[in-house]
Symmetry: C3
Subunit: 143 residues, 3 copies
């Protein structure tokens, strides 16, 4: 079976169309490696089979996760950068169920559902790295 | 009465300011035709007299709609493309009422309220078409 | 103590990383003045110590405010322009609490929490001004 193309170039970066079953973060990481993206901002939207949100618990230094299924992703906003030589994606989102009720926050994982997910990636030519800021115990993008 | 200008050019596309009573999708379609926009991504926000959201019911192959009035549009994220020679807009949004409760999902229609609605359109120079993907029964943007 | 850099240039404008305790609107106003930004669109996301939303009450010509603490800012969408020679920021947002419940609407103020807040600013080279539209009693961006 022929694999669909997942992205094209735009004047400022890339435009991606992901397909049912795609792991969104894995596809963004593949883009970063294939195209050697130094850093980027992105926005996206589409339909999700499932999304896992996480709220960071500073006491336990871990995300409290919640997975929700069959959602419209109303908006995803994020950035692409690097950490220890590997892609480091940071993304937040708002998703809505069949009653239009919304859920939002930090995204830990998301998979495209019966439909597609479109992402516009704006490349920044400066390579950016995330690093732990010990004063707050969280990763912060270093400028 | 003098008609207000609805958009200006930006380095990457267009910036629109829509006015009370404007049909948002009709204004985006007019932009696509007047400027021969091959494809684009956009983000917007503003105040709505009403928004109609729809959640797709695959069993009945139709959107279950819900119309809500007097909302702040917190974010609209979408793309402009073509289908059968006509503009084909795909947009999701999150809107909030006077108590800051939010509603989100796929947008079927929206009209600007007492205020304005601002949209930043980033043009992609490749003409893109939506087509029905028979394996999922939904339109997907073809790259 | 060394002050962290708060922004870098991108091909289309600026990319900001704000830090714990930062007043987001004050930082955006400082960027506008330092870099003489004529106008811009922006999107951002991050973690907030607090956000104040406001819904405009046309009868009393004032915002009914609500302040919420410790939120993930899932998305902020806005524009930078000028009014009477001073920066005039217009921003909407969607934020989520530790249960992933969301709040949205017009943003009156926001302060970065334990983490950071990332903003991508796309500059428009045309200077834009907001002005009161007497027919609706609200500020509208003039094109």
């Amino acid at each position: 079976m022929l694999e669909h193309r997942r992205y094209i170039q735009t004047p400022d970066g890339y435009f991606m169309v992901l397909r049912q079953g795609d792991d969104v973060f894995a596809r963004l990481e593949a883009l970063m490696k294939e195209e050697a993206v130094p850093a980027a901002g992105f926005v996206g939207f589409g339909f999700l089979r499932q999304a896992t949100f996480g709220f960071f618990d500073f006491d336990n230094k871990a995300y409290r996760p919640k997975t929700i299924e069959n959602l419209e992703l109303a908006n995803m906003t994020g950035t692409l950068a690097w950490k220890d030589g590997e892609p480091a994606i940071h993304a937040h989102g708002v998703a809505a169920d069949s009653t239009f009720q919304t859920f939002g926050g930090h995204l830990l994982a998301l998979e495209v559902g019966r439909g597609s997910l479109e992402i516009h990636v704006s490349v920044f030519p400066t390579r950016l790295e995330r690093a732990l800021d010990p004063s707050i115990g969280a990763n912060v993008l270093q400028l």
